[in-house]
Symmetry: C3
Subunit: 164 residues, 3 copies
């Protein structure tokens, strides 16, 4: 079983994905945190997230190599989040094709995975070339994931609407 | 009865919210306009809005203190709009906690309220720190409102889809 | 029959619109390409698009004058895309009223048309005045089109949800 929660910033997608992961897992799910770059603002967010998920998850942190961890997972994996992972991959000079290749490997695994992804493409097209490239990659990867998912939820104002 | 209309800029959410307010009110609804900052561009928008709503609403203007007005309202209140109100609160040095507290008071009132809110979180994450903070607050407040609403509509291209 | 596919950048709306156009046409549909400004980045996108649609469409390129072409079309027209056309119109000093007038003419035609449009209004309101104006016009035109369409699809992550 694979599911995707996609929505804007602070749409409430993470909380819904966590609830979904817990409900669809018989054991404590694995929380695969992809966050790598930590400034004061992020630290605050991460702290809040950790408090929110309390003792409901086993947390493991990995910014880049997803396949190995998920291959070895004995339980449902909550991948939080794909957007940060794309960011990390780009920062470490992996291009779109490397990102796509790694994600295809993940999607080919016969595992229960819940994906969380930021919808970043519904604003004005930014003048910044890197931002445009990020939006393109994010859109392509979200299509790739959604295609392989059994369930896709669009989240807005804390409400998840099943669109697949 | 409480309802939320959320959508992007020029998605048509205001018109749908007005129609909904009129349909769900036995008397002329109260149009609570939160706009405070008026430049030439805004004046134009406000003028257009006023023409659109014609004689269907009693208009009252208040940029900050919502609770008192809504408490005293004898009819359905259309709050237009929450996004501008957040903006005003921040400008007058009220932080997120003050904003959240005031909105919780509003939501606790046993009144018919129709909320209108701009979805601002589905574009690329802006580099501007204030913009990021605004998006965060807007997202949290939209979740707070949606949770207490009987009906939530996501508006795009003038079409409102009931998501709750 | 008229249909609108609206979604963010790289949401997959073009591909869904193409599939829809082919499915709803007994003959090879007309692909009305509105792209005018071609830099290296765009050339890349156009090349990819052309490959994707292969031999399934008859392509005609026109950046501004839509009505004549659609009037003379003997088959279903896929208008790809409205957003670029608005962009071209503004660049050639046609204002909102000219854009609206031309689109109303198109919508009044008794023809099968599939419209594709970028949702650009769900990010933070940009500081750039031109960007704000573009969002306004895009929103108004999308409402205009959606109103006259028999079917409207909101596309996210490659999934089209029928909202009308």
């Amino acid at each position: 079983m694979k599911a995707l929660f996609i929505g804007g910033i602070k749409s409430g997608k993470s909380l819904l994905a966590e609830e979904f992961a817990i409900k669809n897992s018989t054991t404590k799910p694995l929380y695969l945190a992809t966050t790598e770059f930590i400034d004061q603002e992020m630290l605050q967010r991460i702290k809040l997230h950790k408090e929110q998920r309390a003792d409901k998850f086993i947390t493991i942190e990995e910014p880049l190599l997803l396949t190995n961890i998920i291959t070895n997972a004995k339980q449902l994996v909550l991948l939080e989040c794909v957007s940060m992972w794309i960011n990390n991959m780009l920062y470490h000079k992996h291009d779109f094709h490397a990102i796509e290749k790694e994600m295809k490997k993940v999607l080919a695994l016969d595992k229960d995975i819940v994906f969380v992804l930021n919808d970043v493409g519904s604003g004005i097209i930014p003048q910044n070339k890197l931002a445009r490239e990020y939006i393109d990659i994010s859109g392509k990867i979200s299509q790739l994931i959604a295609k392989e998912c059994d369930a896709v939820f669009h989240v807005i104002a804390g409400i998840g609407t099943k669109i697949k």
